[in-house]
């Protein structure tokens, strides 16, 4: 459940973050700044190779920026905070192959009451309750990603990070997973940050789209997506407002993709 | 400081820590200090023993039996491995015998060798060769079997006769496997050589170590053990170096 603090701190504040391959040399990220409010669904898009994954790792506190800072609810963290969860792109590399679905989901739950119930609820939310005792190698790609999703929501996070989670699944599965993620985020009142290269997906799912430039990446524009919720794969995607927003984002990204990376 | 220099320094520091632990064990009486001479004394005894001393003669004797034994095993093992790989009937017929002998550690046959051949160089050479043949035999066999069939087809397309195909395609392709088997065997050969020397008093490192131990020359004993470790390391380095020089194209040597 989202925390309601008296002072509404952004759940995530990226302040002037810069990051390179090493301390000196070309920057991957440069002067990156944006904020995410609690309960918001933010999508980050940009041209290929612009550094989206690096940004995500800094946001997750898996990496520390060279300059600037990443604040979660106004605080700095050296390691991923316990209320942050992340779903990685390569689902078949992020599940532990020696653990069953149930055990994978249970992995991060320590010292928790009503463990089995929580695990079951998470599995039901992703429709894997019937596959609880299967092993990752016995699952399809979509099922594996759902297992990874269940693992990240079972800990009841406040901020959920998704790193191009649907890039490696087929189109039909992608649609189902998008709907599933939006349902879960709504039901659990999560703040969600989705990194994606799919512009349709970004506009369809998010409350705000952050467009990045080419490397060294900074924020080009933040676009508010005021489309009504709940969103529908057919109706929303045909609405004129969706098309206008999509066109706008697409144009921005195209412009960025056509520029050469700058050496800052 | 460059990375390499830093790593070398760390390695040396690690060795220094090991030496310090050794000296600490002596000082604290964890082991009786008479049983654990100082590292300085051991190094000195090693240098003295090697500089035209008994230890040098012992090492030479061991190498003098290790070399012919290993050579014999290399020839017999390679020939046998190639034969088994190329003659399926032979492989099938001998399979039960080989699978029967396989789980038996060769050193267990030392008493049998003593019965048949008695004590002496013959028996030692036989044991070294017998123990070393197995890794070479099986590695070579696997190596020949694993030769990409497309190589053989290429040979036929280029009109090479069967014996030419074996010599010019199969052997070079199987060489890396043979080399690995030979390297494994070289370590086994050293162990067996020393074991026979300890057991039968045959001249060499094994009997030297036993002699000095029984005569209470503890420092010399540790010095000999230290030198034997160096010998084992050098033998392995020798084989690895030769392999890299002869087979730079082999997958193990490629990414260097």
């Amino acid at each position: 459940m989202a925390d309601s603090t008296s002072v509404r701190e952004p759940i995530l504040a990226v302040e002037n973050v810069s990051k390179g391959f090493n301390a000196v040399g070309p920057r991957i990220l440069s002067g990156m700044t944006f904020r995410q409010e609690p309960g918001q669904f933010v999508a980050v898009v940009g041209p290929s190779g612009c550094g989206k994954t690096t940004l995500l790792r800094c946001i997750a506190s898996l990496m520390q920026p060279d300059e600037g800072e990443v604040l979660h609810r106004g605080q700095h963290f050296d390691d991923p905070p316990s209320w942050l969860s992340i779903v990685f792109q390569d689902y078949n590399r992020s599940l532990f192959p020696w653990l069953s679905v149930r055990q994978n989901v249970a992995f991060g739950l320590r010292g928790v009451d009503a463990r089995d119930e929580r695990i079951m609820k998470a599995l039901q939310a992703v429709n894997l309750d019937h596959a609880a005792d299967l092993y990752p190698w016995q699952l399809s790609g979509g099922m594996q990603q759902r297992c990874a999703l269940a693992r990240s929501i079972v800990v009841k996070p406040h901020l959920l990070l998704l790193d191009e989670p649907f890039a490696s699944v087929d189109a039909q599965t992608r649609i189902d997973l998008q709907d599933m993620v939006m349902d879960i985020c709504r039901d659990m009142a999560l703040s969600t940050l989705l990194v994606t290269h799919d512009i349709d997906e970004a506009v369809f799912m998010a409350d705000k789209v952050v467009v990045l430039s080419t490397r060294p990446a900074r924020v080009v524009e933040e676009i508010a997506i005021d489309l009504p919720r709940p969103r529908d794969q057919l109706a929303t995607k045909e609405s004129p407002e969706f098309l206008r927003l999509r066109h706008h984002v697409y144009t921005l990204v195209r412009q960025q993709a056509q520029r050469l990376p700058r050496e800052d | 400081m460059t990375k390499r220099a830093a790593n070398a320094a760390k390695g040396i520091a690690g060795i220094a820590v090991t030496v310090a632990l050794w000296e600490a064990a002596r000082a604290l009486g964890v082991v009786d200090p008479r049983d654990l001479p100082s590292t300085a004394a051991i190094i000195r005894a090693a240098a003295e023993g090697l500089w035209g001393g008994e230890l040098a003669r012992a090492v030479a004797a061991t190498i003098g039996s290790w070399t012919p034994g290993l050579l014999l095993a290399a020839l017999a093992g390679a020939a046998g491995g190639i034969a088994l790989a190329l003659l399926p009937r032979l492989e099938i017929a001998t399979r039960p015998v080989l699978e029967f002998l396989r789980p038996i550690p060769s050193v267990a046959l030392i008493p049998v060798a003593l019965l048949v051949l008695g004590v002496g160089l013959e028996m030692q050479l036989f044991m070294i060769a017998f123990a070393s043949i197995w890794p070479i035999l099986f590695s070579t066999k696997t190596g020949v079997e694993g030769v990409d069939p497309r190589f053989m087809e290429t040979g036929r397309v280029l009109h090479l006769g069967p014996s030419a195909r074996i010599v010019r395609i199969v052997l070079p392709a199987a060489l890396p496997s043979f080399a690995t088997g030979l390297r494994t065997a070289s370590a086994i050969a050293l162990v067996v050589a020393i074991t026979v020397e300890m057991l039968t008093g045959q001249a060499g490192i094994g009997s030297y170590i036993e002699n000095v131990r029984l005569n209470g020359l503890i420092t010399e004993m540790w010095a000999a053990i230290f030198v034997t470790g160096v010998l084992g390391y050098l033998i392995n380095t020798l084989f690895v170096t030769v392999e890299r020089a002869v087979m730079p194209w082999s997958p193990e040597n490629r990414d260097r």
């Binding site: 190698w137 | 267990a108 300890m198 390391y233």
Partner: protein
Amino acid sequence: MTVKGHQIAPLAWQAATVVALVALWQWAALTHPAVYLPPIGRVVDGYIRLWHGDLLANALLPSLYRLATGLLAAIVIGCAAGIALGSLRWLDPWVRPTLEYLRFIPAVAILPAALLVFGPTDQMRIFVIAFGSVFPVLLAATDGARRVDPILLDVARVSGLSTIERLIRVVLPAALPSVFSGVRVALSIALVMMVISELIAADDGLGFYILRNQRLFQTANVYAGVLTIGTIGLVLTLALLAIEKRVLAWHRGWRGLTETNRG
């Protein structure tokens, strides 16, 4: 289990070869008796006796005990050290030269030193067995730990695992397939060191049994002892394979999956 037609010919060849060799031996033993050529019957007798009563207690069990203890110690130490070394990369340059030297010491050369420090005890023999067999396990564990998928380590970090928890709950299972291949090698080395330690410095066990019978020219018993050692080796290898099959069932399925995805 039905035997198909084309399987009969090779089986027949194998059976024929075995029968011929056994017959040859027996004929030679009876017509040209020699010290080292006992009739097969006596060898079989000696073999059976080793698995009963007195000999079981004095020869077989002590050997088995030393082998098991030494090997187990080697596995535990090798795994723990290897996992640590493979995961904590900064350790590597400090430890590498020392390890590279120690691993090439022919284990038999350690025996006289062990004899000096521990005396002619089981501790000494177990130490020698463990010293010889620890390195294959250590090297395999290090290699396995190095190759753990970094994403799994990221998942561990995000899940808030401490370093020790990460090593035990993620690195160890991931390295297990590699560890098992190291253990297979360690088993054969342990068997060799068990025999060597009992040939040179023991007053019971199978190695001592064969040596004593050789000195008494009781050849049938020598062969029986050798066969018993071989049997132990075979049984333990099969047991290890069975355990591996069970414990690494997930690995076979996983590898099959990733290999079909390739290409």
